[in-house]
C-alpha cells in the first residue's frame, strides 16, 4: 500500500506522542476501541442516515476531506490497481447527496466500514469486488430500489460471476450521484440513456438514431428512454419469454394512449389491430395461459426493431412497404411480395384500402342476421305449434293412437 506523506506525518505525530503520554494514550486507545465497537453496532442497528450532526461516530465530511481533499492521494490495491483517493468537494456538494439533499448524507453513511484513523486495510482483492460489495450500502436508504434490483438481469449476472454487470454506482455515479426521478427533479433524460450506454454502447448508438432517441435529444419528455421499457431497477431480462410476451403491452402503454398520440398524429389503432391479428392474438393467449413459454410469434419489436425504431415513413424503416418483404422473411423465409400484402398495416379494413376483406365482412354481416332471423322466426312458430298440438293431443285423449295432428 502506498502511503502518502500526509498520512505518514500524522502517523509520525501519533508516534511521537506515544512516547510521551503513554498512560493517557492507553486510556485513549481503550476509549477508541469502545467507541469503535459502539460505532460498529450503531452502524448495524441504527439506520445510518439518521439525522443529528454532532456525533463523534459520524464525522462530518469536512473531517474526511482534511485528508481526502488532498490532491494526488491514491493507494495501490492488492490487485496492483491504483485507486485515486482524492475527492472533489465541489462534485460532492453538487451531487444528489450534497448540499441540496433532503437529508444530510455524510461520507461515513456510505463508507460505513470506515471507523476512525488509521483506516483498516483495503478489505478486498480488487476494486470491482469492493465496489460491488459497497453497492449493498445503497439499500440502507434506498430500500425499495435495492429490493427491486435483486431480481434484475444485472444482479443475476453478477450472482453468476459476471462482475462487469452493472451495480448502483455504475449507473448513478458514486461521489457525483445525480437525481434520477424525473417527477421530482429536473433530469436530463438523455444523460440517463448515456449511463446505460457506458456498457451498452451499440444499443445507445441505435437508440440515438431512432425516432425515440432523436426526439429525446431534442428535449421531448414524452419519448421513452431506456428505463421506460427496461424499468429501473427491476430491469427484467429482455431475452426472457415473459418480457417478450409483455412487450406489446409496453409499447401499447404509449401507442394506445389517445391523448398522448394525438399530439403526434399517430394512430392508436396499432395495439388493437395487432391483438386482433394472428401474431397479437397468439401472443396475448400465451401471456394469459403460458407466461413462461417462449413464442416465436412476432411482437412489435420483431418488425419495428427494438432500439433502432424508425418512423414507418422513413425510407430505411423495416416496415415501409419497400422493406417489408425482407422483414417478413426474417421469420417466413419463403415469403414473397404478395405475402406482405396480407398484413393490413395496422389499419382497420375499409372499402378504399381493403375492398375484398370489407366485402367478405359485409357478406357475413348481412347473411348471419338474415339466417338467424329466419331460423328464429321459424323455430319459434314451430315450437309454438308443437306445444299447442301436444296440448290438444293430451286433451283429446290417450285412446287415439295415430293422427293426433290436425291432418284432416
Amino acid at each position: 500500500m502506498m502511503i502518502k506523506d500526509q498520512r505518514l506525518m500524522i502517523k509520525a505525530l501519533a508516534k511521537e506522542r506515544d512516547g510521551r503520554f503513554t498512560l493517557i494514550i492507553n486510556h485513549q486507545s481503550l476509549l477508541l476501541a469502545l467507541l469503535l465497537a459502539v460505532g460498529l453496532m450503531a452502524a448495524i442497528v441504527l439506520p445510518t442516515c439518521a439525522q443529528g450532526s454532532p456525533d463523534p461516530n459520524r464525522p462530518s465530511n469536512d473531517q474526511c476531506l482534511v485528508c481526502h481533499a488532498e490532491p494526488g492521494l491514491e493507494m495501490t490495491l492488492p490487485s496492483n490497481e491504483v485507486l485515486p483517493l482524492t475527492i472533489d468537494a465541489d462534485t460532492l456538494d453538487a451531487s444528489a447527496h450534497g448540499v441540496h439533499a433532503d437529508e444530510e448524507v455524510r461520507c461515513v453513511d456510505c463508507h460505513n466500514d470506515m471507523s476512525g484513523y488509521p483506516h483498516a486495510d483495503f478489505p478486498d482483492v480488487d476494486y470491482r469486488t469492493w465496489q460491488l460489495k459497497m453497492s449493498l450500502v445503497c439499500g440502507n436508504c434506498h430500500e425499495d430500489q435495492a429490493l427491486d434490483r435483486q431480481d434484475s438481469v444485472h444482479a443475476r449476472l453478477i450472482a453468476a460471476g459476471k462482475f462487469e454487470a452493472a451495480s448502483c454506482a455504475d449507473c448513478h455515479g458514486s461521489h457525483d450521484v445525480q437525481w434520477a426521478d424525473p417527477e421530482k427533479h429536473e433530469v436530463d433524460r438523455m444523460q440517463m440513456a448515456e449511463a446505460c450506454g457506458q456498457c451498452h454502447s451499440t444499443i445507445l448508438d441505435d437508440y440515438k438514431q431512432s425516432i425515440h432517441g432523436q426526439e429525446t435529444m431534442k428535449g421531448n419528455q414524452d419519448t421513452p428512454t431506456c428505463s421506460n421499457c427496461h424499468p429501473a431497477h427491476k430491469i427484467p431480462d429482455p431475452r426472457s419469454a415473459e418480457f417478450r410476451l409483455k412487450s406489446p403491452e409496453m409499447c401499447g402503454d404509449c401507442h394506445a394512449d389517445k391523448e398522448l398520440m394525438s399530439e403526434y398524429d399517430i394512430s392508436t389503432d396499432v395495439f388493437d389491430t395487432y391483438v386482433s391479428d394472428f401474431h397479437g392474438a397468439t401472443v396475448s393467449i400465451f401471456e394469459a395461459t403460458e407466461p413462461g413459454h417462449y413464442t416465436n410469434k412476432a411482437v412489435c419489436s420483431d418488425c419495428h426493431g427494438a432500439h433502432l425504431i424508425l418512423p414507418p415513413t422513413d425510407e430505411n424503416s423495416s416496415v415501409i412497404s419497400a422493406n417489408l418483404v425482407k422483414t417478413c422473411q426474417r421469420c417466413h423465409p419463403d415469403a414473397n411480395e404478395s405475402f406482405t400484402k396480407s398484413w393490413l398495416g395496422h389499419y382497420r379494413p375499409d372499402w378504399k384500402r381493403y375492398p375484398l376483406v370489407t366485402a367478405v365482412k359485409w357478406f357475413y354481416w348481412l347473411i348471419i342476421p338474415f339466417t338467424l332471423v329466419f331460423f328464429a322466426v321459424f323455430v319459434s312458430t314451430d315450437a309454438f305449434r308443437t306445444l299447442k298440438n301436444r296440448g290438444k293431443k293430451k286433451g283429446v285423449g290417450a285412446g287415439q293412437q295415430q293422427g293426433g295432428d290436425e291432418h284432416d
Partner: protein, 363 residues
C-alpha cells in the same frame, strides 16, 4: 288400414358412420376454433389451458380439420357412387316445392293453414342443413387452408386473400355454430329426439309428420326405387370406381402435400440476440480527481521536523473551513486527538499554544 311397422330404417351404416365423424370433427373444430376467435374471453383461455396451450389447441384444430376434409372427400365419392352406379334419386336436391313447404309450414304454425305440408324423403329443414354443411365445409376448408399456409397461398393469390380468408373463417364459424345450435338442436333434439342418425331407425309417427310422402311410398312399396339390374350396375361400377379412385388418390395426395408443405409453413426462429454488453470504454477504476490548478505550488513532500513544544498545527492551516479544531482533534475524536486533559479547553483557544506553522497557514 293394415298393421303398420312402428319403426322404419332411415339411414344405413355408412351414413351413420359419416355422421359420427362429422359430429366429432365439427364439435372439436368449433370448440378449438371459437376459443381462438375470442381469445380475450376467460372461458376461451380456460379451455386453451385445459387443452395444453394454444399450440396444442391449434394442432387439435388442424387434425380435426384433416378428418373433416377426408370425410368430405369420402362423402363426395360415396354420393357419386350412389347416384351414378346405384342410380339413387337426387332426393337431397332443393326444389321449388321446398320454398312452398316453408311458407305452408309457417302458415300452418301460426294457424293460417290447417294442412301441414306433405314432405318427401328429405324435408326443407334437412336440405337447408345439408347444404349449409356443404357450403360451410367448403368455405372453412378453403379459407382455413389459406390461414394454415399463407406463404404458399400468396404465391398464387394476392395478399389480401389472407385477411379476407380470416374474416370468412371466423364469421362462417359463428354462422355454422349458431345454425347447429338453433336449427339442428331444435329439429332433432328438442322437437323430437330423433335418434335415427345413430340407430338408423325412425318412428313411424315421426315419419308421418316429417316425411308423409316418403312414408306413403314406402307403404305402397315403391320406395326405395329398385336398384338397376346387376349387369348394368357392374358396368357402371367398372367405369366409376377406377376414375373415382384415381381422383380420390389425387385429392388425398394434394391434401397431404398442402398440409405437410413445410418450407412455407415453418417459421425460422428469430435471430439470436446480439451481445448487449459492449462497453464504450473498458471497465476500470474511477478516474482520479484532477488536481486543482494551484497544485504545482503545493509542496509535494513536506519535510517533517521534530515539533517544538507544544505541538504546532503543521498538517494544515487553521482556515475558515477548519476553524473548529476540536471537531477533528478534540479529546474524543480520532484524528490526532488532543490529550484528555485538553477536554475542557475552549474551542478557539487552541492556537494560543499551538501556533500554526507559518508555511502551512499561508495556503
Amino acid at each position: 288400414m293394415t298393421e303398420r311397422a312402428m319403426k322404419i330404417i332411415r339411414f344405413g351404416v355408412t351414413e351413420r358412420v359419416e355422421h359420427f365423424f362429422l359430429l366429432l370433427s365439427f364439435t372439436i373444430l368449433a370448440i378449438t376454433g371459437l376459443v381462438q376467435k375470442f381469445p380475450e374471453n376467460g372461458l376461451s383461455l380456460a379451455i386453451i389451458k385445459g387443452l395444453g396451450g394454444i399450440e396444442n389447441t391449434r394442432s387439435i384444430h388442424h387434425i380435426s380439420a384433416i378428418v373433416l376434409i377426408l370425410l368430405s372427400i369420402f362423402h363426395l365419392f360415396y354420393v357419386g357412387y350412389k347416384i351414378y352406379v346405384l342410380k339413387r334419386p337426387l332426393s337431397m336436391l332443393p326444389g321449388l316445392k321446398d320454398a312452398k313447404d316453408v311458407i305452408v309450414l309457417l302458415k300452418y304454425n301460426i294457424g293460417l293453414s290447417r294442412q301441414r305440408p306433405l314432405m318427401d324423403r328429405y324435408n326443407f329443414g334437412e336440405k337447408i342443413e345439408y347444404w349449409a354443411v356443404v357450403w360451410g365445409t367448403l368455405v372453412m376448408a378453403v379459407s382455413g387452408y389459406m390461414l394454415w399456409n399463407p406463404v404458399l397461398t400468396t404465391r398464387i393469390f394476392p395478399g389480401e386473400f389472407i385477411p379476407a380468408a380470416k374474416m370468412a373463417h371466423g364469421y362462417e364459424a359463428i354462422l355454422a355454430v349458431l345454425s347447429i345450435l338453433i336449427w339442428h338442436v331444435w329439429h332433432v333434439h328438442v322437437k323430437h329426439f330423433n335418434k335415427s342418425m345413430f340407430t338408423g331407425a325412425i318412428d313411424v309417427e315421426e315419419m308421418e309428420e316429417e316425411h308423409p310422402l316418403e312414408l306413403e311410398k314406402i307403404e305402397q312399396g315403391v320406395w326405395p326405387p329398385p336398384l338397376p339390374p346387376g349387369q348394368e350396375r357392374w358396368r357402371r361400377a367398372v367405369l366409376y370406381l377406377p376414375l373415382a379412385g384415381l381422383l380420390a388418390i389425387l385429392m388425398l395426395i394434394s391434401t397431404y402435400y398442402i398440409f405437410t408443405e413445410q418450407t412455407a409453413i415453418t417459421t425460422v426462429p428469430p435471430a439470436p440476440v446480439e451481445e448487449a454488453y459492449k462497453p464504450a470504454q473498458p471497465p476500470g477504476l474511477p478516474t482520479a480527481t484532477p488536481a486543482p490548478e494551484m497544485a504545482e505550488e503545493i509542496p509535494k513532500h513536506v519535510v517533517w521536523e521534530a515539533p517544538p513544544q507544544p505541538m504546532p498545527v503543521q498538517s494544515h492551516a487553521a482556515d475558515e473551513a477548519r476553524a473548529d479544531c476540536q471537531a477533528c482533534h478534540g479529546s474524543f475524536t480520532y484524528i490526532s486527538p488532543a490529550p484528555l486533559d485538553h477536554a475542557e479547553y475552549e474551542d478557539d483557544g487552541c492556537t494560543e499554544c499551538h501556533a500554526a506553522a507559518k508555511e502551512v497557514s499561508q495556503r
